[in-house]
């Protein structure tokens, strides 16, 4: 589609429209997008729009402003694609998708590399409705409340209380573990094993959940000096 403004390219994808930005300050990109929409209101009327912001690190208020601007023009912002983890996190906070329906294969590869020695570090309590998806390990410094979900390709460590759902080793890694100070989860999953268990405890103790030798998902109390990962030596 020929565009009068080279800052932003808009094309059709399976789930709606995708706006991709060239390198430029965010304010310029935003106004370029909005002026494109204002030029052809009929075309954009009621559209579902995804934006690809490249490596821009966007704050919550910037994304909220964009969403409001779009919604005033009757365009629904449903996804934000970004290479910046900060922007991805912001988008997830606002309940926006961070990828189009099919993850691209190269993205998957990046995830595997990340799984080995890095982790997504979250320093707040995850409240109901929040879903964290990450191809690698996830560390939470805070609680995981009922109704919140973590789906991680690697291990999950929670320095806090878990009442929500955690899925470790989501890509099939059955050696993944879930550690928490208080494991009162409604449901835990590791690889393809599901365990609905774990009543809230009066006096919680740190626990580690893993798949044992017989292939069952189980949790055991943490003991000082014990290593929970065979390959950690």
């Amino acid at each position: 589609m020929a565009s009068m403004n080279s800052l932003v390219q808009i094309k059709g994808v399976r789930d709606g429209l995708l706006a991709a930005f060239d390198d430029a300050p965010w304010e310029e990109q935003r106004s370029a997008l909005l002026s494109q929409i204002d030029e052809r209101p009929a075309f954009f009327q009621g559209a579902r729009l995804a934006v690809d912001v490249g490596s821009q690190a966007l704050k919550v208020n910037e994304l909220v402003a964009l969403r409001d601007n779009l919604s005033e023009r009757n365009v629904a912002l449903w996804a934000v694609l970004s290479e910046s983890p900060l922007t991805e996190q912001t988008a997830q906070l606002l309940g926006l998708a961070t990828r189009l329906s099919k993850p691209q294969p190269e993205e998957q590869k990046r995830g595997d590399a990340a799984a080995e020695d890095t982790a997504l570090f979250i320093t707040k309590t995850l409240r109901s409705g929040k879903r964290i998806e990450y191809p690698g390990n996830v560390v939470v410094l805070g609680d995981v409340n009922a109704g919140a979900e973590i789906v991680a390709g690697g291990h999950v460590v929670v320095w806090g209380r878990v009442r929500g759902m955690i899925h470790a080793g989501a890509n099939g890694d059955s050696s993944a573990v879930i550690c928490a100070l208080d494991l009162s989860a409604t449901q835990l999953r590791i690889a393809d094993k599901v365990s609905a268990m774990l009543k809230p405890q009066k006096h919680p103790k740190p626990e580690v959940a893993s798949i044992n030798g017989e292939g069952f998902l189980q949790s055991e109390l943490w003991h000082p000096g014990e290593l929970y990962l065979q390959d950690m030596s």
């Binding site: 409001d68 995850l126 409240r127 109901s128 409705g129 409340n145 109704g147």
Partner: protein
């Protein structure tokens, strides 16, 4: 005068948003404040019924937005308090008739002439809710001591955090001390433990609330009602006064825990 804009919201329906707005507004007006209530529940309005002003509605908020009347014309004066006004919702339209910037514009217009603007949010976390919190300086999250209501409140608190709306305060509504004593209901401590936000008031279960709502006379006007007293206390706290929490339980133990929580803020 610059009004403080307070939105009351909950996520779950039926926990007492409208009742709280009507009562807090009436209590603030009784303390001599100029208060404007806005019913944000376009399409399912009922703040007018609870405040007993249904038969006075000529224009509503959608008429203001679409330019069919002036803002002043849509502000209905209360029967008893001349400094208490209601801007009713439209009943025949839906949430899409209003946008977040419309709400901000209306609030900005009222702001110089009032002490408090109270916005009654619709249930849910969709557009109506977003409109209701858009202009807010402060958000009160109301919940009942039920697992489902607390979980929805948790979701709402998460959204408010994501939208950087400041720290919300919690009203725990319809607490039944007798049921809590028998371990048949979540206690205030349980709810605070789950939500971890600042508590601004606990309203005990009280039949007088329902009677008052049906009569269009908010329960704060009933000097003997415990719930009315609780709402009057919350209104004082909104005005910046330090008011001790009511003793809902005769047994000890509760106090220490509660004070620990209120200090946490």
């Amino acid at each position: 005068m610059t009004a403080q804009i307070i939105t009351v919201t909950s996520g779950k329906g039926g926990v007492g948003k409208t009742t709280a707005v009507a009562n807090l507004a009436t209590a603030l007006a009784a303390d001599g404040r100029k208060v404007v209530c806005i019913d944000g529940d376009i399409g399912l309005r009922n703040l007018d019924v609870v405040m007993g002003l249904e038969n006075r509605i000529v224009y509503d908020i959608v008429d203001v937005i679409e330019g069919r009347c002036k803002l002043r014309q849509a502000m209905i004066r209360d029967k008893h308090y001349p400094e208490l006004y209601l801007i009713p919702a439209a009943q025949t339209r839906d949430k899409n008739a209003v946008s977040a910037s419309d709400m901000k514009r209306i609030c900005n217009e009222i702001k110089p002439d009032a002490d408090f603007i109270l916005i009654d949010s619709p249930a849910g976390i969709e557009r109506g809710f977003r409109n209701a919190i858009a202009p807010a300086d402060r958000v009160l999250v109301i919940t009942n001591p039920e697992v489902s209501a607390v979980r929805d409140a948790d979701r709402v608190v998460g959204i408010l955090e994501a939208e950087e709306k400041g720290n919300p305060s919690l009203i725990l509504n319809r607490l039944n001390p007798a049921l809590v004593r028998n371990n048949d209901m979540l206690s205030a401590e349980d709810v605070l433990d789950l939500l971890g936000i600042h508590l601004i008031g606990i309203v005990p279960e009280d039949e007088a609330v329902i009677i008052g709502s049906n009569r269009g006379a908010p329960v704060v006007t009933d000097a003997r009602s415990r719930a009315g007293q609780a709402f009057r206390n919350i209104a004082k706290r909104l005005q910046g006064e330090e008011v001790p929490f009511m003793d809902l339980y005769s047994q000890g133990g509760f106090w220490g825990a509660l004070q620990k929580w209120t200090r946490r803020k």
